[in-house]
Symmetry: C3
Subunit: 273 residues, 3 copies
């Protein structure tokens, strides 16, 4: 199934508009190109709305958010909704500051998202309306483990029902869920968290996958999460004793560039709950 989904990405080459932070934007662009998509970035309100219209999908990432880009996010999100385009939210740092929490909640209220991807602390903030995120990383206390997986899956499904969006919570075990069904994914490597922006990259990847597969957004989002994790595994095998997080970053994007749909199909590790 994931094979066909990834083939659709490669074949359709979805153009993805990203309103995103300036920290990881270059890696997001290269990751989109690596998966077969095409990136474009605009953040001035009028420009963002117009660029949204010529694209197939939109990613809204609230890292390095400011008062100028907030209206762009809202306007572009609404425009994407009008056009029936896929829209993915990455609530970077929701729970870490009032501006970020409020913005995430405001976006959730005004824009209908196809999918929302964040770490467990960010997603809990969206669900509860407040949070105690440790910066842009998940709180240790929140982490999804084999012990609390059942409860986490229920929580994620419930939020998916409530928001109408696919919810992708990424961490050691990833959960990608709609109201009645969840993919629990065990691809990936812990070392990926030593690279800035692997989460942001996954969010734009998710946009490309759901855009190229409008009829099966849950499976497409799950495929994107598996693909990112699998590339983390492939890239890790390539690491020498001298390589660190900078080379690892490059190797993961390289792995996505080289990944075939058949390899993705074969390399995925998930169960459906």
């Amino acid at each position: 199934m994931f094979e066909q989904i990834f083939e659709n990405v490669r074949r359709k080459s979805p153009l993805v508009h990203c309103i995103t932070n300036y920290v990881t934007v270059n890696d997001c662009a290269n990751m989109l190109l690596a998966c077969g998509g095409s990136p474009i970035m605009a953040d001035e309100p009028d420009d963002a709305v117009e660029i949204t219209a010529i694209c197939g999908g939109l990613t809204i990432n609230i890292g390095t958010l400011n008062q100028r880009t907030l209206p762009s996010m809202l306007a572009a999100g609404k425009r994407a909704n009008e056009l029936g385009h896929s829209v993915v939210l990455d609530p970077v740092g929701a729970g870490a500051s009032k501006l970020r929490t409020d913005t995430a909640l405001r976006l959730l209220k005004d824009v209908r998202f196809t999918a929302i991807r964040g770490n467990i602390s960010e997603i809990k903030t969206l669900a509860s309306g407040s949070g105690t995120t440790k910066g842009v990383d998940a709180d240790v206390a929140d982490r999804v483990t084999d012990e609390n997986l059942d409860g986490a899956v229920s929580f994620v499904k419930e939020l998916a029902r409530r928001t109408g969006a696919i919810i992708a919570v990424t961490g050691a075990i990833d959960i990608v869920a709609e109201g009645e069904r969840a993919f629990c994914i065990r691809n990936g490597r812990p070392e990926m968290s030593s690279i800035t922006g692997t989460g942001c990259q996954l969010s734009v990847l998710t946009t490309a996958f759901v855009t190229a597969n409008p009829n099966q957004p849950l499976e497409a989002a799950a495929a994107a999460v598996c693909a990112m994790g699998l590339c983390g595994e492939i890239a890790y095998k390539r690491m020498t004793e001298q390589d660190g997080n900078a080379s690892y970053r490059n190797y993961i994007i390289d792995a996505m560039y080289r990944l075939t749909p058949a390899e993705l199909e074969k390399g995925t590790k998930y169960e459906v709950r």
Copy 2:
């Protein structure tokens, strides 16, 4: 000829001010350093004007353009004109949105450019005043091929005459022209388009080359285009079966860092029409 031009870049180490997008800015800075130049970036109006004055050249790139940076581009461009500095325009996404098209046309009206570098769709937008650019990539219908090369060369020369700028249209075949003379360049690799920002990098490279060679801007711009393409070829030879677009990006900048003027002279593939 290109040997001497490149030697001038290495020897003079031109300081190049870049008002550019935040997607590819880091690669632009490293590419400038790789060729022997020196980068500086400022985009607040007053700062941009003052920084322009201490530099030798200015690149204006309209990707991720906003209402704050637009006046900076106009003011810095005019100041560079007053000082007789070289100014290069990269009309990223002209034709893809009203803001970008209008801004490119406005800049063209208010600033005298030494050179303009874009893909064929962006350049056609400048020529016609409107366009249908597919995001930041060229429309397939517009592409320069052996079949339509004669017409394309005439079109580019005509625009060069009209604007007084050297026009560099890059793609599978690159055309770098002034009113009466055009270099048709066949360096480069198609895989370069799978890296974000190779066009932006070429624009800052062009600024460095024309700044270090004020008396032969056409040849300098053509040398920059050849150098970029040649580095794409050299870097491609280095690719292993595990390398993808992220490593390729690094290898191209590395290749520029290592390229000697003699190697450039020997590796160029062009004809003058």
Copy 3:
């Protein structure tokens, strides 16, 4: 001594807020992760103040400064002071324009810095109130050499006394000083200046080191400078004939990721004056 200091960084994993330029921000984030710290970036005034409060340290870097981020810098700096957090200033391009010089002086007046790291031209600008910086690089005339080292050390100590901050001047010979004591450091490679942002990376590294070692900020800042230089040396040894500044950039961050506290202790080259 540096061994223990670096172990504290790895063990405490300080969360460092960076208000910094968009040119080198991604490298700063990956360098922070490489050393064992954790990065977060915010530049909207309210957000910046709130994010400052949840972090241990703050870096203020004035590259690509604008009228929106200036109040953020001032407000975040003051908040960090109230909370007793460490704050490091990187006065990028002070002396190159009025906005940058004035901003650096204003910050110096309104915020109490734990450390200030810049090249010699930027630091001289802070001391004298004006300067003639060549863009973002040091003027050749200003450079610290064995011949003028005594005078330079006196100058740096004097500025440290006057500002109450540790002053770190980096170049071929680095000087890290408080009022009565200076570390003269000879780690590093001249090729590091062919990479954009090695100075910015060192500034965030310095923030991580002083944050994790609040009782010995001078030694911590000196350890950060030694660590960066040592990683430049280690990475240089790894360079092949095809590698240039792009790969070198990655290798330096990789080297920091792999560096052990014991290796740092062993590899430092300094004298105390």
